[in-house]
C-alpha cells in the first residue's frame, strides 16, 4: 500500500515536473506556453528586474472594435454614472487619420506607465507612485484627490471619481474622491495573468496587444521591440513609457 502510494506520488511529481518543463519549452523563438521566468509567488515583492510593458500593433488593431475597453470596464468594475463627461476612463480607443494620405490608424490609449512618470513627480502626498516592476499606480489610501497628476499627465490617462461607487470588484477597490487610472491589471499580473485588455484582444483574434517583460530578452515583447520599429507616444518628452506602439 505504502509502496503503491509512493509510486503514485512520484508519478504525480514526475508529471508536474514534465508539465512545468513543457510549459517552459519555447513554442517558437521567444514565445512560451507559460512564462516561468516571470512567475512570482504571492509572498514575494514585485521585482525591480522586471519592466512590464505593452506593445500595441496599430496595423492589427481593428477600427471600431472596442473589446479592450469593454474588457477593462468589466474587469475593473467601471460603470457609467450617467455623467459621460466626468466618467472614469482607464482606456480609450483613438482613431487617427493622416489628412494628406488618408491612412487611418486605430489604437487604444491608456496609462503609458512611464519610467519617469510626471504624475509621480507632482503628487504632493506620495499617493501616485511607480512600483518596482514599472507599473504606475495610485495608492488610494494616501490620495487626497487634488488632481495635480491629472494635469501633469501628457496622455490624459487619469480620471477622478466624482460619484460614490458600490459593488466593486473585490480585487479592484475604487471610491469617490480619488484619482485613478489604468493599473495594467496589477491584480492579474500579480497572479501571473495578462491584463484584461490584452486577453480580450487575443480572444477577438486581433492579437494587436502583447504584454510582457521589456527587460527579459527572451520575452516576445522584448524581441519584437528589438526587431521591429516601434514608437512611444510623445517620445520627445523622454518619459520612457512602457507602452510601445508599432506601425504608428
Amino acid at each position: 500500500m505504502s509502496a503503491g502510494s509512493n509510486e503514485g506520488l512520484s508519478r504525480r511529481g514526475f508529471l508536474a515536473i514534465s508539465a512545468a518543463t513543457l510549459g517552459g519549452v519555447m513554442l517558437a523563438p521567444g514565445i512560451r506556453l507559460i512564462e516561468i521566468a516571470a512567475a512570482r509567488a504571492p509572498d514575494q515583492p514585485a521585482s525591480g528586474k522586471v519592466r512590464w510593458g505593452l506593445l500595441i500593433d496599430t496595423n492589427k488593431c481593428e477600427p471600431g472594435c472596442d473589446d479592450c475597453v469593454t474588457a477593462c470596464a468589466t474587469e475593473n468594475g467601471i460603470k457609467s454614472t450617467g455623467h459621460p463627461r466626468t466618467d472614469s476612463q482607464w482606456i480609450r480607443k483613438v482613431e487617427l487619420k493622416d489628412m494628406r494620405s488618408g491612412r487611418t490608424h486605430s489604437l487604444p490609449v491608456m496609462c503609458q506607465h512611464c519610467a519617469e512618470p510626471p504624475c509621480v513627480d507632482v503628487c504632493p502626498t506620495g499617493a501616485s507612485f511607480k512600483r518596482a516592476d514599472g507599473i504606475v499606480l495610485v495608492d488610494r489610501h494616501i490620495c487626497i484627490g487634488c488632481r495635480y497628476c491629472i494635469m501633469a499627465c501628457p496622455y490624459k490617462a487619469r480620471s477622478f471619481v466624482h460619484q460614490e461607487i458600490s459593488d466593486q470588484n473585490p480585487d479592484v477597490p475604487r471610491g469617490k474622491g480619488c484619482v485613478e487610472g489604468c493599473t495594467l491589471c496589477v491584480h492579474r499580473v500579480d497572479r501571473n495573468q495578462q491584463p484584461a485588455c490584452v486577453e480580450a484582444c487575443t480572444k477577438a483574434g486581433h492579437n494587436a496587444m502583447i504584454f510582457g517583460d521589456l527587460n527579459d530578452p527572451h520575452s516576445e515583447i522584448a524581441q519584437r521591440v528589438a526587431k521591429y520599429a516601434s514608437t512611444q507616444i510623445r517620445a520627445d518628452l523622454r518619459l520612457d513609457p512602457g507602452v510601445h506602439y508599432q506601425g504608428l
Partner: protein, 124 residues
C-alpha cells in the same frame, strides 16, 4: 484611615456592589454574528484589538510591493465574515458595521473596498 472613614468606605462599597453586579446586564452590547466560527487567522482577543494594524500593514505591502498573501487581506476578512443572509459585512447586523457602530468608529474601508463576498464561480 480613621474608623469613621473605614465605615464610610464600607457603606459606599455596599451601595455600589449591586450596581456593579448589574453592570454587565445593563450595558448594551453589539450583536456580533460570526458566519464561520473558529476559522480566524488569529485568536479572537488579538483580532479585536489589533485588526486595524494588521490591515494597515497588509495594505501597504499589497499596494506598494504587490505582496498578495491572503492571511491578513481585507478581501479574506470579507470573504469569511460576510453575513449568510445579506452576503455583506455591512448592514445593521453585518459583522463589521455592528461593532463599529457600537464603538462609534468610522468604517471607511468599504467606501472603496467591496463589502460583499465574491460568490464561488462568479466572474469578476
Amino acid at each position: 484611615m480613621s474608623l469613621r472613614g473605614l465605615l464610610r468606605f464600607a457603606a459606599c462599597l455596599a451601595l455600589a456592589l449591586p450596581a456593579l453586579a448589574f453592570a454587565s446586564g445593563r450595558t448594551p452590547k453589539p450583536e456580533i454574528i460570526i458566519a464561520n466560527p473558529g476559522h480566524c487567522v488569529e485568536p479572537t482577543e488579538i483580532m479585536r484589538r489589533n485588526h486595524p494594524q494588521m490591515l494597515l500593514h497588509q495594505r501597504d505591502l499589497t499596494v506598494h510591493e504587490g505582496i498578495r498573501t491572503s492571511k491578513y487581506s481585507l478581501k479574506g476578512c470579507v470573504q469569511c465574515h460576510a453575513s449568510k443572509t445579506t452576503g455583506s459585512v455591512l448592514g445593521e447586523k453585518g459583522f463589521c458595521q455592528s461593532c463599529h457602530a457600537y464603538a462609534g468608529v468610522t468604517l471607511d474601508c468599504f467606501e472603496c473596498h467591496a463589502s460583499k463576498a465574491k460568490l464561488a464561480g462568479a466572474t469578476p
